[in-house]
């Protein structure tokens, strides 16, 4: 298999010298992932803090004085308005609260400005809740009853999930998706150039006329794709972890800091993750090799691979929301792509089921062999190589 190694080395060096590839595949995930994942969270956190601290104008009409005072307590400035809907639509106030008989109506344009107005509406609701509680307490006292009438028992929730699952948060939920996405991105970088790119430049014919088996050529290109798939995913994951670290540091103590979460894999978890990621990277690279060879140019390869990209992303998107329900369906660990997502999800949440992991590895390994065989066949297929 020496020849396969030489082919891999050629692809690795050639790709490494393409500065655009290195920038797009290795540096951008590292720099952008923290911004994409935690930028909005940190921004929202800051907005919430500033909204809590500052005073916003709220239109009021026919409110009891006690409620008006409560609004002030929640850092709102009540402004008497005659026409509340108009005052809101003309932006004289951020929201308005009016009493209509025994009904209180909150006017706002929350759907149009969900964040800015949303915070104000939340304050108005808090003030209303507090006012309601005061009224109820007063009426209970008048009737000679205690507060306990309304609260006959206490509810306490205890989450028995493993510590890892509890701490994973958003980070844990997104990691399988991004890991699989980065693997695909890294493999694509090498594979399109190594198949359709070589065809377009007229170098593939010479390579195939060298005394090397086409299986070795396919294996070499697969190895190179694998190297970049792993490098890209490591770069992306480091970006995510860096983002998580700095967001936690800068938003320490706030609710937002807990949303990000953290991942703590032991040596065994890391081992499970590595095997699964490597097998998935090999499968994706071989699949892209087989498909990329059909294209006659770099551009044509992109048109073939884009739909494939969508097909591969779909299960990931479904599982992002449905993994909880499907985690115990053993048969799903035999379905390529689905199985990898679920297997990684298990590891991140510290809920590894060895049998499920084994089924995932066995079926993915089988898929690697089949796709590699398909790719090697395409390297020998004149109808694929010399398609006009």
């Amino acid at each position: 298999m020496k020849a396969a190694w030489w082919v891999a080395l050629k692809e690795i060096v050639s790709t490494w010298r393409d500065r655009r590839t290195i920038r797009n595949v290795l540096l951008l995930p590292l720099l952008l992932m923290p911004l994409f994942m935690y930028g909005p969270t940190a921004f929202l956190g800051k907005m919430e803090e500033s909204s809590k601290a500052s005073v916003q104008k709220v239109g009021v009409c026919d409110l009891p004085p006690q409620l008006t005072k409560l609004l002030e307590k929640y850092r709102l400035e009540p402004v008497e308005v005659a026409d509340a809907p108009r005052a809101v639509s003309e932006e004289q106030v951020d929201a308005a609260l009016c009493r209509q008989g025994d009904k209180y109506v909150i006017y706002s344009e929350e759907a149009a400005k969900p964040i800015k107005v949303g915070f104000v509406v939340a304050k108005v609701r808090q003030a209303l809740d507090a006012y309601e509680q005061r009224l109820v307490a007063a009426r209970l006292r008048q009737a000679g009853l205690s507060d306990e009438v309304l609260h006959p028992f206490v509810v306490k929730e205890e989450d028995l999930s493993p510590k890892q699952a509890k701490s994973a948060g958003v980070l844990g939920g997104m990691t399988p998706y991004f890991l699989m996405l980065f693997i695909m991105m890294g493999a694509m970088t090498v594979v399109i150039d190594a198949t359709a790119g070589e065809k377009e430049k007229g170098t593939l014919e010479v390579l195939l006329a060298a005394p090397v088996s086409h299986l070795q050529i396919a294996a070499g290109k697969l190895l190179a794709g694998l190297v970049y798939a792993i490098m890209t995913s490591v770069s992306g994951l480091v970006g995510i972890l860096l983002g998580a670290y700095y967001t936690a540091k800068f938003t320490k103590g706030s609710e937002m800091a807990q949303i990000g979460g953290s991942i703590n894999l032991g040596p065994a978890g890391l081992g499970y993750l590595l095997v699964t990621a490597l097998l998935y990277a090999a499968m994706i690279t071989a699949l892209l090799l087989a498909v990329g060879l059909y294209a006659r140019s770099y551009k044509e390869a992109q048109t073939y691979i884009s739909p494939l990209y969508m097909v591969l992303i779909l299960p990931m998107l479904v599982l992002m929301f449905a993994a909880d329900y499907l985690q115990n369906a053993l048969w799903l660990y035999a379905v390529p792509v689905f199985n990898v997502y679920l297997a990684i999800d298990q590891v991140i949440k510290g809920q590894v089921q060895p049998l499920a992991q084994l089924v995932c590895w066995a079926t993915t390994a089988l898929a690697v062999l089949l796709t590699l065989y398909w790719a090697a066949r395409n390297f020998s297929s004149e109808s694929v190589l010399f398609r006009n």
């Binding site: 060096v13 010298r17 090397v212």
Partner: protein
Amino acid sequence: MAPPAEVGQTLVEASGLRKSYGKTAALRGVSFAVGAGEVFGLLGPNGAGKTTTLRILATLIRPDAGGAQVAGYDVAASPLAVRAHLGIVNGGMGLYERLTGREILTFFARFYGLEGDELAERIAWVDETLGIGPALDRQVREMSSGMIQKVIVARAIIHKPQVLLLDEATRGLDVFARRALLDFVGNYREQGKAVVYSTHVLPEAEEVCDRVGFLHEGRMLFIGTIDEAIERYDTDSLERAFIAAAKEVRA
């Protein structure tokens, strides 16, 4: 590397090659032989079947019928042995843009078992033979077209193949690079190698080929020396002889 072939020994033999792409027949029973120390011109217009013939010899495609041998090895039964004994250059061929000339030569040479001192000596030999010079340590994207062509030829002969297949090899070359290539083909013949020189530029073939084959619409119309072709079709040039042969078949 195989021992040098004796002059006249057959190194390429194609017999009754047939090949179709769907309903289009590219080759309709093509036969010819090329001996050691000979440049054989495979002549014909675009679409005559020249590239298909060379691809069969290079084991890149399989014939529907007929067979071929290169350096004594059957293209269907021993493709790896065939590939080990031939070099290939075609006009549309490129190189790996981000590798240097030396890296490209090393990459291909290793497939032929060349490593260490032997590899260094061989690179020095192609440098001396073709005058590659600074292109050896320059990435392809920084080379001129003439330099690129030299590296392409160097890559094809780094293992000193017994058979060299040239397919429209002068396409797109400037006058200096073209001259250098034609001179090289003449020299390579002197080393006892067989060269199959495929082109549609007949004056070029007149200059460099010992024998020629007229390939037209997948059929071999004539095989012989240039003088024999001119005499056979009673003309004053190879080009006119080819046109006469094509008209004869149509008639």
